[in-house]
Amino acid sequence: MYIIIVGGGKVGYHLAKALLNEGHEILVTEKNADRNQFICDELGSVCVHGDGCEAATLAEVGTGRADMLIAVTGDDEDNLVACQVAKHKFNVPRTIARISNPKNEAIFKKLGIDVTVSSTNIILENIEEEVPTHPLTHLLTIRDKGLEIVEVKIPPDSTTVGKAVKKLSLPQGSRLALIIRKQQKPIIPKADTILQAEDQIIAVTSPESEEALRTALRGA
């Protein structure tokens, strides 16, 4: 595949390196002359000095035949514009934008960007997993369906310990997928499965009912 990367910062550089190793044809655009030189010295002549938001730069690097454009500069607005220029002027089939402000995810989607990757959200999710007292951890987002897979831990003092699954008032659209218990095989929860202290529950939910699900599982 021919992939254009806009922005040769740390993310752009390592992304280019990884994709080159996979055998793709890569081109990086970088505004800073020194940074451009660094990438060319390290990876060979795969970097062009120029602004990847400008149609002229994108024309110069043959964006018309690109299979994908990935915009990973540090500024959300630059990534948005690079993707829009690629999509609407050069008909690039797939555009991916990095975003720093998680609030921009919905906006970018509405403005026609195929995929957004929120670095802030990824860091938050990873940190969440490492905080043992965190009541609800995001494991995976299924964007197209508006669903997410989360993990909820049941603390020993929770009012739901000893209750059957059917007695829990789960929000509509939320499903319990799996219960992981210490020294046991994972259990697929049924209506009469009784919750125990320290259970780790894997559930499917929508972002809107996340809070209701947490309350249903751990008690108010």
């Binding site: 400008e54 609030k103 509405k110």
Partner: protein, 132 residues
């Protein structure tokens, strides 16, 4: 008319002053408080510290009731992003944005944004002056 202007540079501040003196309700946004010095002393509108590509700042500026939105910061990309948020998220009836790069301006015009390029306009104007 309730107008929100993003960017309190020379153009933004002057436009804010003109509209304000004609009795329009003007809110002007900038990320740098120091830039509000450019507003005329008679300005009676609102000067708000905030980022025009942030939904919360735009709401605070009253974008939900705005009749018009003008994006005139120094950054083309910031201007087109803010203009698109105003158009597609908040459905502001009238939106104008400045895009220095003529090629980018062409593109956004084709995407339905009212964008103007001072580069093209000034070059044309200078050429006419030279020929007259």
């Amino acid at each position: 008319m309730k107008v929100i202007i993003m960017g309190c540079g020379r153009v933004g501040a002057q436009l804010a002053g003109l509209l304000d003196s004609e009795g329009h309700f003007v809110t002007i946004l900038d990320t740098d408080e120091y830039s509000f010095r450019r507003l005329p002393p008679t300005f009676t509108g609102t000067a708000l510290l905030g980022n025009g590509i942030d939904e919360e700042s735009l709401k605070e500026a009253g974008i939900e009731e705005a009749d018009a939105f003008v994006a005139v910061t120094q950054g083309d990309n910031r201007n087109v992003m803010a203009a698109q948020i105003a158009k597609h998220i908040f459905n502001v009836p009238k939106i104008i944005c400045r895009v220095y790069d003529p090629l980018r301006r062409e593109l956004y015009k084709s995407l339905g944004l009212e964008a103007f390029s001072p580069t093209t306009i000034l070059a044309q104007l200078l050429k006419e002056k030279l020929e007259s």
